[in-house]
Subunit: 156 residues, 2 copies
């Protein structure tokens, strides 16, 4: 199965966090796994808050994109589509909350594990844990809404 | 007066969001203004969520660093120091909440206006608005705590 972001339509694939067509971006990739989603990301050396610790803004960015993919996967299941096989619908972030439980060590690959906790027609709530070397360092709760057509890029 | 981040100690100046010593970073700069703080930031073309709109993870990152500087300024005033003149103490983020009120247009310089709303000895709560072309596009509420000595970088 493909990563969820690889199945966004082209005109929704420019996101700095997760767009495959953004040459400068982070390229967050999320895998749908039976009702949950998982992403792995290795921060660069310069993604630091203080030497030795991951920058919180990066963690917020990873949580944001991974949550949108998770919401998309949940909406697909609800509609009878198959996440990772069928086109991924694009959601956008209504609100993002991150609790930093402890400083996140810079070095290990980060693991983001998320699950949809409230799936509505238009609004989906996602919760996740961010782990480094098997230790939970942050938690996030993100509210996703289906991208309105007015945000869709139309080439002139 | 100097920008608050320019007066962080060197070993707290490597942050990807606001560290003057991070060659790859965003270099967020916050100015203390009589009990409030202001930052201005012009996103790069590639800092997009969708074409024409700013990436939410960038807004979260700006809010994070600007809130830490705001908390530092508030703590300095409480201690009788002068923000923008005296060394800025380093705070770290305990939690970060961003409400995205509307899509943020990509192009205009962003304006972040923040104020401390609860100033404790160890914990400071900061609220802010993020505006583009005079329109409020996002609001953030951030809890800052004084950086523990265990996070301080010590050269070996």
């Amino acid at each position: 199965m493909a990563m969820l972001q690889d199945l966004y339509p082209d005109d929704f694939s420019h996101c700095y966090g997760c767009g495959r067509l953004n040459a400068h971006g982070l390229h967050v990739k999320s895998e749908w796994r039976d009702g949950e989603a998982v992403a792995r990301f290795r921060p660069a050396e310069y993604h630091m808050a203080l030497p030795g610790f991951v920058y919180g803004g990066l963690i917020a960015s990873l949580a944001d994109c991974h949550a949108m993919a998770t919401a998309a996967g949940a909406s697909m299941v609800q509609a009878g589509a198959v996440p990772g096989r069928d086109p991924t619908p694009r959601f956008v972030t209504a609100s993002l909350h991150v609790d930093f439980l402890r400083p996140t060590p810079l070095g290990p690959e980060l693991l983001l594990r998320s699950r949809p906790v409230d799936v509505g027609e238009r609004k989906i709530v996602v919760e996740m844990s961010v782990l480094a070397a098997d230790v939970e360092c942050a938690r996030a709760r993100v509210i996703a809404v289906r991208a309105p057509d007015t945000m869709r890029f139309t080439r002139s």
